[in-house]
Symmetry: C2
Subunit: 329 residues, 2 copies
C-alpha cells in the first residue's frame, strides 16, 4: 500500500472529524440501503458498546425518512453510504437529515455523485480487486466511527484501530488463502441448492445479512434468510434438517457464545453446514483489543470468495440481474 | 369484556407507572426472544416517533446480555416478555439489567414464573381464544409504553390509546370476519409451498417477522424470511418470480409508501401474492391519531387465522415441534 493512499484516507478522516468537532453530537444515525446498510451493522455494534453518551440508530434509508425519528435534529450525526452515490432513497435521506439540522457525512466510491453533493462531508473509498483494505468501505467507516468516538467521548481506541487497519489487507489475504479450498468446495457442493441460510450474531450479523440478501438472493437468485444466532432457538431452528444448508459465522466478539451454541445445535441435527470461524484466521498486526470488531470484515472478505466460487459453479455471474438497473422500480 | 378485567389491567399499568415515576428514565430497552421480541417492534416504532428525549433499543435477550450496551444503567427502563416466563435468556437478561441498576418490567402469562420473580414489576396478560384483546400482550405493552411516554415526557396519547384499545376486540373480530374467505383460500392454495416470504415496513415489520420465524419456520417447517419493504429493492426483489409466494402487509403508518411500492413492483413480476391491507379493516372505536400504531395488532390477529388454515390444510398442527421443548439446546 502506498504511503500516499494512507495519507489521503487519513486526511479525509481528519477533515470529517474537524466538522464533527464543531458541533455537539448526541446521537448517530447509520443510513443506507442493502449492502451499504449491512456494512454499517458492525459500526452500530461498536457505538453500542463503546459510547457512554452517544446513541446509535440504524435504518434503511426510506425507513429513516418516513419513520421520522423524533430525536433526529441539530445534535445528530447522520452517516450515509451509497457505492455509486445515486441510490435515490439515500440521497433523499441526506437532504432530509440536513433539513433537520443534522451533520451529514457520506461514504461513496463516486465523490461527484448526487449523494456526495447532498452531503456536507464526503469520504471516498476505494473498491475492487486491487484496492487496499485500508482504503475500502468497512475500513473508512471504522476510522470515521472510532474518530467520532474519540472527538465526542474521548474514547481511546482510534489510534489502535487505525494502526490495525493498516495491516488488514495482509489479514484478508492470509484468511482467503487458508479458506481457499473450502471456498472452492462450497461452490461445488452447494451449486444445486435452492435455499441456503446464513447465521451470526453481534458485529457479524450484518455480514450474514449481506450474504443472504445481496449475494444469494440478489446475485444468485437462491432463497435465503440471515438468522440471528440468538433468535435461532426461538423459532427458526425448527427448519433445520439434514437437507437444509446453513452458513454459520463465528466471530471473535462478546456474542461468540451465541454463534457457538447455534453451531453446536446445528451439528446435531443438520448435515449441510458451512462454517467460517474467525479463530482460524491469522490476526497478526491487528491489536487484540479490536480483533472482535475486525473479525466481521475478514469474514466478509472470505465470504466473497465463496460467492465467486458459487457463481462460477452455477454458471450465474455475480453481475447478472433481472430487475435491478433494468426495469422501473 | 368485563369491567373487572379493564380495571385490573389499568391497575397493573398504574402500579408499573408509579415505579417508573420514581426514577429518571433516559432510555428504554425492549428485550425478549422470538415471538415475544417481535411483539415489541411496534413499540420501538412508537418510542422512535414519539419520544423527544428517551431512546429506544430492541435486542434479542442473549444479544442484549452479551452486547452489553454501554448506556444500560440506572436511568434505563428494561421491558421484557416471555409467555411462560421461563425463557432462560430472558430471565437472565432481567437479572443482568437489575444488576446494572435498571428498572425491569416484565410481561408474562405466568405471574409466578422465574421471569416474574426476577423482575421488579410484573404485568400479567391474558391469552388464548377467549381473551379480550384489551388484556392481551400487544395491548398491555402499548398501555405501558404510552404510559411511560406520558410519565417521562408528558406525551398526550396515553388516554387515546387506552380508550382505543378498549374497542380493539371488536376491530379484531370484524377484520377476521372480512378476511375469513381469504384466509381459507390461503390455506388451500399455498399448502404445498416450500417457501413463503413475508414483507412489511415500519410498525408492521415485526408482524411479518413473527409470521416468518414463528408460524412458517417454527410451526410449519416452511422456509421463510421477513423482508423489509424498503430493503426489498436493494437485493431481495431479485428473488421474486411467478412461482415465489409473498405475503405483503400494508399498514396505516407513515411508512405505508414503502409497502405500497413493494406491492406495486411485486404485482408486476410475481403471481403468488397474499395481500393484507389494513385499509380494508373497520377501525371504528380506534382514534384516527393512533390507527397507524394499532394496524399491526390487527394484521397480526388476522394472520393468525391464515396460520390456522394453513396448518389445517397441511395436516400439520401449529403445536407440532421436532426440537423445541423436546431436545436439549
Amino acid at each position: 500500500m502506498s504511503i500516499e493512499l494512507i495519507v489521503d484516507v487519513k486526511n479525509q478522516i481528519k477533515h470529517a472529524l474537524e466538522e464533527v468537532e464543531k458541533k455537539q453530537i448526541d446521537n448517530v444515525f447509520f443510513v443506507a440501503c442493502g449492502g451499504s446498510s449491512a456494512l454499517m451493522y458492525p459500526s452500530k455494534y461498536v457505538v453500542d458498546r463503546e459510547a457512554k453518551k452517544m446513541d446509535a440508530h440504524l435504518y434503511s434509508a426510506n425507513e429513516f425518512i418516513h419513520r421520522n425519528h423524533a430525536k433526529l435534529g441539530d445534535t445528530s450525526l447522520v452517516i450515509l453510504c451509497s457505492h455509486s452515490g445515486t441510490t435515490p432513497e439515500t440521497v433523499e435521506a441526506a437532504k432530509f437529515a440536513r433539513a433537520k439540522g443534522a451533520l451529514t457525512i457520506s461514504l461513496t466510491n463516486e465523490p461527484t455523485s448526487p449523494l456526495a453533493q447532498a452531503s456536507e462531508v464526503v469520504l471516498k473509498y476505494e473498491w475492487g480487486p486491487t484496492a487496499n483494505a485500508f482504503a475500502t468501505n468497512y475500513s473508512v467507516l471504522y476510522q470515521l466511527v472510532f474518530g467520532v468516538l474519540k472527538v465526542v467521548e474521548n474514547n481511546e481506541k482510534f489510534a489502535t484501530i487505525e494502526n490495525s487497519l493498516e495491516n488488514l489487507q495482509t489479514v484478508f489475504e492470509k484468511a482467503a488463502s487458508k479458506y481457499h479450498e473450502a471456498a472452492v468446495e462450497f461452490g461445488k457442493q452447494y451449486k444445486d441448492e435452492k435455499i441456503i441460510y446464513t447465521m451470526a450474531s453481534g458485529s457479524n450479523y450484518g455480514v450474514a445479512y449481506s450474504f443472504a440478501i445481496c449475494i444469494l438472493m440478489e446475485m444468485q437468485w437462491v432463497h435465503s434468510h440471515a438468522i440471528h444466532a440468538g433468535e435461532y432457538f426461538h423459532g427458526p431452528f425448527e427448519i433445520i434438517d439434514e437437507e437444509t444448508p446453513f452458513i454459520i459465522l463465528l466471530g471473535l466478539d462478546e456474542t461468540r457464545y451465541l454463534e457457538e451454541r447455534a453451531l453446536e445445535f446445528s451439528q446435531r441435527y443438520g448435515k449441510k453446514l458451512i462454517v467460517l470461524d474467525a479463530k482460524d484466521f491469522d490476526f497478526s498486526g491487528i491489536d487484540e483489543e479490536v480483533q472482535g470488531y475486525i473479525a466481521p470484515l475478514v469474514l466478509n472478505y472470505v465470504l466473497r470468495r465463496y460467492a465467486e466460487n458459487l457463481a462460477e459453479q452455477r454458471n450465474h455471474p455475480l453481475s447478472t440481474r433481472r430487475y435491478m438497473w433494468k426495469v422501473e422500480y
